[in-house]
Structure formats: structure tokens, C-alpha cells
Subunit: 419 residues, 2 copies
């Protein structure tokens, strides 16, 4: 039996397949007879010594996590600061790890989490505490450095492309007497990866989406209006995909223009799609509809990409393998060796090359006119949404998602958490 | 070979399975060697003599319509008025029918369409023109009289319940440090059928959706706030489903409160979910997110209910059978003979019992406190979302939806359409 306990924690926004990573981690560790604890609500649980004993879960439950969206053990949006600023918290983490003989720390998140894992590994070295820290990639934003793509993104991308293809058929059927412009708001505050994925829904100029608005390009209303009008006149309707993070040329978020307060001082929660829809209605006189899928786009496990699921599980298995080999401060990343046929493998990459960095979308992925994707983007994106991996459904017509028992291990420390 | 041509037209908002009805109509008619024309953009095409020759479509395309959302021949939101007011249009329809030897008119829509089909049949009788008119049911609103349920509703209902179940797992995972209240806006201006379907996602008190707001019950903010707070304190988060048609006690649509114009005179397209989210944020201080799925909920063929698909095809087949038997002015309706096991059959019902009527949700379907569904609602709704019927997917990871060629037949009349 391998020595020490493995602690797994989820971090940041959850995805359709982060639990598939958790499932793979726990199964791989069980095979090697390594005990796995899971932090309740991410790093908060580690700080509070709220640790879930995954050995209390049946193998059926652990397997079913592979088809269950959300974050089974809870996640959180808490970023530790520098070792200097948050030293007490980092030391508390080590104290908790020591109390539970945690020798492997797997932190499943984005670039913030990679940074935290890296800092914890440094502090452990400073204190001569034998700990192997592994960052495990996850984010629908697809903005992690080094890795070719991020588990979670492919499924959200598939949701986006399929939803656009379906809604466009609806709009097309009704356009003569009803909605002429349809606006879809995609997640992506800093990079237009999900908006770009919508481009997979249609290959030629007349196919939806007709216009994609990227945060990488300034939003210029007059130009946008001209293109909407031209599209409606040519095609009969216009399907627009807007990244939530689009900005005007002077750097203001368009979403903020749509929100604010009404004349009674009430909060108006706007968003990009509702703002653009209102402007198009006022400026061009077309009937508009819009959608804000919000969390639906990142939790739609029913429409997961098989490629994405496979990769989410592969990084989980590899994370355990690296941990037990003592490969400290690395992340299992996805390396693409070929577009067609699509081939990928998992390799270790140092956390310091990933922590706090952000992968931008290559300029060559956005069409010269700024409103669509290029063949290069298509070559990159298309394999990521390939394949279906539906969950099992019950007799009641609903997916059979599981909720683990999440039994806590007994605390060993005084409750002096800094959280 | 049967005499005369069959004209099929789609009407009103399209659904995930209205093309499945079209597919069944065309296949049933082909089997009986009856020629099928389809009106381009619904009744508009009939008025303009824009008629699609479905014999130009391959059997593969016609079959593929069964898994393609939207309205393959186009639909429209045009309601003919009374025979007196719109007599010229009704006469024009007969003129077009006569020119193309149309002896069977199948109008696939809601209660307005049933009314139009009934009026056309009366005018034909008045002119001694031999015509059999059949209303074919379709609406995600589930508000047609007589029929137990409406093709299109079951799939939208399944989309709603699955989306709530998935999003709730996301919210639950993040609630401690992020979103505590999530609001989902469901279609349903007059009746809360789709909002009620969300209730299928969770069976016990602590399961999402925690609160459903029905248009059948007045919206009282103070009471709603109290329940949101109580839910967040008890469960940790609160998932709300709001019907777009909810109204205050004095009969004003809540959605209108969220819209209007901003201080610059710009249109603010609000909606119920964004309004409620803003109010909850201001009034209770919780972090909120909301979603407006809009057309996604009625075009999500990828998540269609098998029951709904079967019924959409069955009403199409029966409509042809009734037409060829000369059963004039009827609609094939779904009759439920048993909840468990769920059993149903198709029977003809007179259009005059359906035209312009609206089926309300039974009072016994809404929980006494007004915020959830009853066991009776569950018994009614659950079979309707049962079974999966995914479309085939291509190598590119996208559903293989088809677009028919829609070749028009040559016009025979002068272009004197009143439209």
C-alpha cells in the first residue's frame, strides 16, 4: 500500500465534466490502494479541515460521477494571495495536511489554482514536509497556458454549437413574420473561445451564426448594425453570437452599458445580449429575441463532448500517476499531435509555466473582418466537440445524476481556521 | 391512386418535433400515393400560391425531418380573422386550392390554426368545393383543448426539467462563495405548463427547483422574498423557475416592470428572470444569476422526449388517415387511457371544440402554497418527458439536421394575393 493520503479539491466554476476528472482520480487511487479525501467546497474545506472520506462512496457512485455535472464535493471562488500576504492560510493548509497524512494534493481548477498548488508545494519544501502537488486542468474558458485545450471547454463548446444550430432553424422558419435577429450570449469575459465554438454550427456565409462578436475585437455599433442589416436583407434573418466580454474601442464593457440602475434606483441586470437586442430593435427596427444560457452552457452534461469527457478522465488518471511518482508541481496537460486524424496525449508540464498565465485566442482564429472564425480555428475547435457521451436516463426521462454522501472525516485539529 | 392533392402547412411557433409530424404526414401520404404540397411559410404560402413540391425530396430527407427541429417549410404568425372580415383571403385560399386540386388541407398548429382550418372547411362547403380540413396539433404551450397534451410540449418540458437539474448541481457546488439564487425563465404567457414541468427535476422539498412562479397565481414580492430567504438559509441556495407570464395581483405583467426604457430613451428588453434577479439582489443582497433560454427550449431536438416524438408522428399519420376518409373539420387528439403504465391513443375530435379555446392548467396541479407542483401534476407530466430520441450526429460532433430543397411548383394563378 502506497504511503499517505491523497487530497483532491475542486476550484472555481464547475463544468459538465469536472466530476469525471474526480471519478478518474478516485478510481485510479483506489486501484493503487491510496486513500482519497476530498475537500468540501474546494480550498475552503482544506482550510476548515472539512474533508470528505471518499472511501465511504460505493464504486457505483464513483463511476456515476463520470456522467454527473456540477462539482460533487463543492467548489469555491477563493484565491489565496501571495505566500507573504496569506502565510497563515498556507501554513494552516500544511497543518491540516499533516494531521491527515496528506502527501498528495490534487487541485482541479484553472490558472489561479495552478498558482495555489505551486505555492503550497514551495511552502511544503520550505518546511521539509513531503508533499507532491499536482494541478489538474479544468475550465470552460479554455484559457490555460501550455495545455492544448482545457477539460470542460469541449462540452460547453458543443452545447454552444448545437444550440446555435437548433435555434437558427427555429428563427429561419419564422423570420418572415416574426423574429429577424437572434442574439446568443456566450461566456467568455476575456477570450472569445466559446463564442468561436459557435462558429462550428455553420460552415458557409449564409449559415448561422452570421456574426460573432469577440472580446478580442472592439465593438463598433455602426459597423455591427450595417452587417446585421446586410445579413437580414440577404439571408432573411441574422443570428448573432456575442461574447459576454466584448468591449468598445475605448475599453468599456458593452455588458455594463446594458445594466446599471433604472430611474427608481433599481438594479438592472443587463448583459450583452439583452443590450444588443434592444439597440438593434431601436436602431434597425427588427423584431429581436435573445438568449442568455448562463450556467446551462457549462452544466449541460447531457450534451457532453466525448473528446472532452475522455480528456477530463485522462488528466485525472495521469494526475494520480504523477503524484505517486512524486512529480511535484506539475500539471497533466493535453498535447495535440495531429488535427486530422485528431491525436492527443497527456504529458506533465511545470506549474510555474501555467500559474497565473492566460492563453489568448490566436489572432489567426478570427476572420479578417472580425465577425467569424477562420479555417485554422475550425481545425482546432472541431475535434474538441466530437463524439457523444450521454448520461444514462431513468424511467422518468431524466438523467441519472448522483449525489455522493460526502461523509466527513473526524477533525483532528482545533477549529482555528483562518477562514 | 387517391384523388386530389394534400396541402400541409405549419403555423405559429415551431417546436423540436413539428417536422416529425410533417415527416409522418408525407410518408403516410406517399404510401397511399397521394401527392403532398407544403405551403411556404405557412398560410402565407397558401395565399401567395408559394407551394413546395415535397415529391422532389428524397425519402432520406423526409425521414430525416423526424429528427430535425424548426419548421422545414417555414411557418408564420398570421391569423386570419372572421369569414366576414377576411373573406377575400379565405376565397383566395379556395382559389389556390382549386388551381392545384387540393382536396385535403392539413394545418399544423395551435388553437388559432384549428379555427382557420374550421373556417376554411365551412367556406368550402358554402362553395360546394370538396375539401377535407384537418387540424394537426402542435404547441409547446400545451394549451389546446380536448387533447390530453400537445406535440412539442413534451420535448420542451424535458429540456426544462433536465436544464434545471443540471444547473442546480452547478449552483449547489458553488453556493457558499458564489451564486445563491438562480432564476430560470420558462415560456408560458398564459399558462404555466413549462414552468410546472421544471418541477419534475426534483421530488423532495430541498431539491431544485425550490420555487416555481406560475402565471395562474399572483406574484407577491414580499412573500416571494420570504421564501427565497428561507430556502437559502435552509438549503444553502435557491433555484427559482418563473413563467414569463407571471402577473402582480392587479394584473400587470412582471416582465413589463423589467423592461421599458432607460434614462437615454433606449429600449431595455427585460423579461421576468432578469427583473426578479435584480430585485432579489437589491432586496436580499444575494449574488444572483439568471437564464433566459428563449428559443433554445423549443428547438432542442437533441433532447427530445421519445413520447413526444412518437405522438408528433402519430398525429401526422392519423391526420392523413382521417383526411383520406373524408373526416372533415377534425383534429387527431391524444387521449390518455392510463397514467401508470402510461397508455395513449389517437382519436378524432371536432375542430369546433378546439378552435380558439385555451386549456388552462388544472388548479389541482399547483401546490396549495402556490410555489410547486402536486403529485397529480407529476402523474400527468412525467410520462410526457419519458424516453430519449437523440438525432444522429455527424463526425463533426453536430446533429445531422436536414434542410429540404423546397422546390416550388409552378404558379397557375395571377399574383393577386391579398397578402
Amino acid at each position: 500500500m502506497a504511503q499517505g493520503t491523497l487530497l483532491y479539491a475542486q476550484s472555481g466554476g464547475v463544468t459538465a465534466v469536472i466530476n469525471a476528472t474526480a471519478s478518474a482520480v478516485i478510481q485510479a487511487a483506489r486501484t493503487r490502494q491510496v486513500r482519497v479525501l476530498a475537500a468540501r467546497n474546494g480550498i475552503l474545506g482544506a482550510l476548515r479541515e472539512e474533508l470528505i472520506d471518499t472511501s465511504k462512496e460505493s464504486i457505483a457512485t464513483i463511476r456515476a460521477l463520470a456522467h454527473t455535472p456540477g462539482g460533487a464535493f463543492g467548489s469555491c471562488r477563493v484565491k489565496l494571495k501571495s505566500l507573504e500576504e496569506d502565510r497563515a492560510k498556507y501554513e494552516r493548509l500544511l497543518e491540516v495536511f499533516r494531521a491527515h497524512d496528506v502527501r498528495y494534493f490534487l487541485y482541479n481548477g484553472g490558472n489561479d489554482s495552478a498558482d495555489t498548488a505551486l505555492k503550497v508545494s514551495r511552502l511544503a519544501a520550505e518546511y521539509d514536509y513531503p508533499l507532491t502537488c499536482i494541478g489538474v486542468p479544468k475550465t470552460v474558458d479554455n484559457d490555460l497556458a501550455v495545455t492544448d485545450c482545457c477539460p470542460g471547454f469541449g462540452s460547453a463548446a458543443k452545447y454552444t454549437a448545437v444550440s446555435i444550430r437548433e435555434a437558427a432553424l427555429d428563427v429561419a422558419a419564422m423570420a418572415e413574420t416574426s423574429t429577424k435577429v437572434f442574439v446568443y450570449e456566450a461566456m467568455g469575459r476575456h477570450a472569445g473561445w466559446l463564442a468561436a465554438a459557435a462558429g462550428l454550427a455553420g460552415a458557409d456565409r449564409d449559415a448561422a451564426p452570421h456574426l460573432i462578436l469577440f472580446p478580442e475585437r472592439p465593438y463598433v455599433e455602426a459597423d455591427f448594425f450595417a452587417r446585421v442589416r446586410e445579413t437580414v436583407e440577404r439571408v432573411g434573418y441574422c443570428v448573432v453570437v456575442a461574447s459576454e466580454g466584448i468591449q468598445t474601442a475605448d475599453g468599456r464593457f458593452v455588458a455594463d452599458a446594458g445594466g446599471g440602475q433604472d430611474s427608481f434606483g433599481h438594479t438592472q441586470l443587463g448583459g450583452v445580449a439583452s443590450y444588443l437586442a434592444g439597440r438593434v430593435k431601436d436602431g434597425l427596427g427588427y423584431k429581436v429575441h435573445w438568449t442568455l444560457p448562463d450556467y446551462l452552457q457549462r452544466s449541460a452534461r447531457h450534451l457532453a463532448s466525448k473528446t472532452d469527457l475522455d480528456q477530463a478522465q485522462a488528466v485525472g488518471r495521469k494526475a494520480v500517476e504523477y503524484a505517486l511518482k512524486g512529480m511535484n508541481a506539475v500539471m497533466p496537460v493535453i498535447v495535440r499531435s495531429s488535427d486530422a486524424p485528431y491525436r492527443w496525449k497527456i504529458e506533465p508540464a511545470p506549474l510555474e509555466k501555467i500559474a497565473n498565465r492566460e492563453k489568448k485566442m490566436p489572432a489567426g482564429f478570427i476572420r479578417r473582418d472580425g465577425y467569424g472564425i477562420t479555417p485554422a480555428a475550425r481545425r482546432y475547435l472541431e475535434p474538441l466537440i466530437r463524439g457523444e457521451a450521454p448520461p444514462p436516463y431513468g424511467r422518468d426521462g431524466l438523467p441519472k445524476y448522483v449525489s455522493p454522501k460526502n461523509a466527513m472525516v473526524r477533525k483532528k485539529l482545533a477549529d482555528t481556521s483562518t477562514q
